[in-house]
Assembly symmetry: C2
Homo-oligomer: 438 residues x 2
Amino acid sequence: MTADNHDSFGLIAIAKQTRLASMKLAVLSTAARNEAIEAIASALLSSQDEIIQANITDCEAAAKQGIAKPLYKRLQLDEHKLKDNIAGVKDIGKLPDPVGSVQIHRKLDTGLILKRVTCPLGVLGVIFEARPEAAIQIASLAIKSGNGVILKGGKEAIHSCEAIIKAIKQGLSQTKVDPDAVQLLTTREETLELLKLDKYVDLIIPRGSNSFVKFVQQNTSIPVLGHADGICHLYIDQAANIEKAVNITVDAKTHYPAACNAIETLLVHQEIASTFLPQVAEALQKLNVELRGDTATQSILSNLSNIVPATETDWETEYSDLILSIKIVDSLPEAITHINEYGSKHTDAIITEDIEAAETFLSLVNAAGVYHNCSTRFADGFRYGFGAEVGISTQQIPPRGPVGLEGLITYKYRMTGNGHIASSYTGEDAKAFLHKDL
Amino acid sequence: MTADNHDSFGLIAIAKQTRLASMKLAVLSTAARNEAIEAIASALLSSQDEIIQANITDCEAAAKQGIAKPLYKRLQLDEHKLKDNIAGVKDIGKLPDPVGSVQIHRKLDTGLILKRVTCPLGVLGVIFEARPEAAIQIASLAIKSGNGVILKGGKEAIHSCEAIIKAIKQGLSQTKVDPDAVQLLTTREETLELLKLDKYVDLIIPRGSNSFVKFVQQNTSIPVLGHADGICHLYIDQAANIEKAVNITVDAKTHYPAACNAIETLLVHQEIASTFLPQVAEALQKLNVELRGDTATQSILSNLSNIVPATETDWETEYSDLILSIKIVDSLPEAITHINEYGSKHTDAIITEDIEAAETFLSLVNAAGVYHNCSTRFADGFRYGFGAEVGISTQQIPPRGPVGLEGLITYKYRMTGNGHIASSYTGEDAKAFLHKDL
C-alpha cells in the first residue's frame, strides 16, 4: 500500500500502528528520545540532496500550475532553509523534557502517595499546508514529547514531504523509537477521515488559513489546538508617549502583516488623536498601509487624500495585509469594550505612561495576551522563550496563547497504596486524610 | 420577568448581565471575594427556615408525582444537610485563592517583562439535577474563583433553588460582588438556549447522568467539563497479596456502586484465579453483588449457582449498581490491552507485590488515574486534597481526573515593555532575547 492510496480501512490500520508505536515511545527515557531527535537530524542531513531534488519536482509542478508567488515561496526548500531546519531539530533535542515532570506529590495518608506526573497525549494529527519543513519541525516536537504523529501535508508539497518522512523514518530505525510513530498522509480525502479517528488520535493541530482551522473545528470531536482569528488591537491612551506609540503602531502593523499577531485596528483616545494621528498616518502611508477611519478619524486626517471610511465590517476583519482600521474612542472603558466585543482574544496592547490605566487595561481586556508599551508582535512561543511553538490558541480555557511543548502533553494521577480502601475514611471511625505535600 | 419565564431574548439579557457582573468580580481582591463567601454563608443561615420550607414544598410535590426513592432522598434538604453545606461554603472561603497566581515570570529583555497570571474564566454555565445544595456549592466556588455563574437546576428542586439563590443574592448585595454574578434558570427549554450562548458562557459544567453529559457535549460549542462514563477496572496480578486484593475489590465495588469511581470489571491473572476468585466471590455475594464471568471464571466458580455468563456488552457497561463482570487474563499485557480498549480513562488499579509489574501498569494504562494497591474509590477531588471538586474529567487533555478550583480558571500573558518593538529582534543587527526567569 502506498502512502497516497489509503482507503478508510488503510487509514485505520495506519492509525493503529501509530498508536502502538506511540505506546512504546511514551515509556522511553529522556535520553532515548533525545537520541532519536539526533538521529532525525543526521538522517535529514544525509538525505539532503534527495529532499532538495524532491522539492524541485514539487516547485516545478507548482510553477506549471501557476501557483501564487507567496505560496511558491513557502513551498521552496533550498539547502539553506533545510540546514536551518536541521539546526532547529537539534535545538528541540536540547529543550527540557516535558514528560515525567511531577506536578503534585502528596501524602494522602501513611503509605498512600499521590503523584501527578506529565505524560504524552498519545497520537497527534497534524494537518498543514504548503511549507514542507513543517513536517520536520512537527515530527521532532512529537518525538521529543513522546507522541506518535500522523501528518497530512499539502498536496503541492507531496514529494518533499515524502522525502522528508522517508529520511526521518530511516533515522528512527537506528534508534529505540519505532519508525511507525511518524506517519504521512497525502490525499485530501484522508483529512476528513483523520478528523473522524477519535479513537486513535488525541489532538488535532491544523496549520493553515482561518477558514481551514474553522472547518477542522466544526468537523471533529477530537480536541483541536489552534486559533481561527487574530484580530489584535492597539489602544493609544491619552497619556501615551507619542514616539513609542508611533513606533509600536508601525511595528505591530507592518513588520509582518500576514501574521496573526499583527494589529488590525488602532483605537485612539480623543484627547491625543489630533496630535498622534497625523504623525502615525504619515509613517504608515510611507509604508503603503491603507488607512480606514471612522468619521472622527477622517475629520482629523482630512488633509490626507486617501483615508477610506471604516464600516462595521472593518472592526471584525482580520486583513492579514497592509490595511489598518482606526477608531477614536472617548475613554479607556470604551476602548476595552470595543476590544472585548470585536477582538479575537489573541493579543491586545495599550500604549500609556499612566500605570493605573495600563493596569485597568491588562485586567479588563479578555485576551490570551495583554500588553503594555510593547508590540503585539511579541506574541510567539519562541519570543516567550518556549523554544518551540506548536500553535497559538485563542480559546478561553488553557492552553491559551502561544503554546510550546506543554501543549503536547497531559498528566496522570499515579497513586500507590498498601491495601488502602476508601471505606476506612468514611463513617463513624473515619480516618482523616493527611494531605501533606512532599 | 420571573425566573421561570424567560424567552430566548430574556436569557441573552440575563447572560449579558452576568457577563458584566463577572467582569467586575474578576478584578476584586482575594479579601473581597472571601468576604462575599462569608456573606453567602450568613445569608443562607438567616434564610434557613425559608429554604427548608421551600424544600418541603418541592418534596411534597415530588412525592405526589411518585418520584423514585433515591431521587427523593437527593431532593431533600433538611436542617442538618443545610448546616453541613453552610459549613462547606465557609471552607471554600478558606481555600487558597486560585486567581492571580504567577505561573511564569520572565525577563525577555531589559525592560520587557512577561508574566503568566491565572485569572477567572468568565461565566460558567452549570446544569444540575435534583440536589438543591449543588446550587450552594457551585455559587460559592464560582465567586471564590472570580467567575459569574448561570445555574440551571432540576425542575423538581425549583422552589428550593429559588430560595437558595434569593438568599445568596441577598447576601452578595451587602458586599462588593454584584448579585447579578449569580443567576438561576429553571425551565427545561432554557437548558438548550444556555448551550447556545457561546458568546456569553465560557464553560459548561453538566452534573447528571452519563446520557445527559453526552447530550450536553453533543449540543454545544462551548467547552464542557465533565465525564460521560466511569468504567473503572481492577486488575489482580499473579503476584497480588490475596487479602489486599479481596478487600480492595469489595471496597471498589460495594462502597458506593453508583459512583463513577466504582469498578465495573475485575481482571484476574490466570495464575492466581483459582485461589483468589472463590474468596472474592464469597465476599461479594455476601454483599449481594451479581457476578458475571467469562467462561474461565464460570469454570472456576462452577460450585456457585448464580454466576451469570459475561458477554461482550458487559466489558463496555457502567453498571452503577451491585454488578461486577469478571475476566481471566493470560498476562499483564492482556490486562492492559483490555483496559485501554474498554476503559473510559477514568481510574484503573493493579493489585500486585511485584514493583516492576506495577510500574508497567501505571505507565501503560491510559487513564486519568492509575493506582497500585489501593481502591479506585480514592479518585475524588476532596480525597486528593483539592478542597473542592467541580467535576471529574475523562478527556485526554488537561484538566484531567478530579478537578478542583483549577478547572474554573484560565491564564493571561501580561507583558510590559517600554516601547519595545519586534523588528529590533530580527534581521542583521538583531538583538537577542535574554529569557531569564525572575
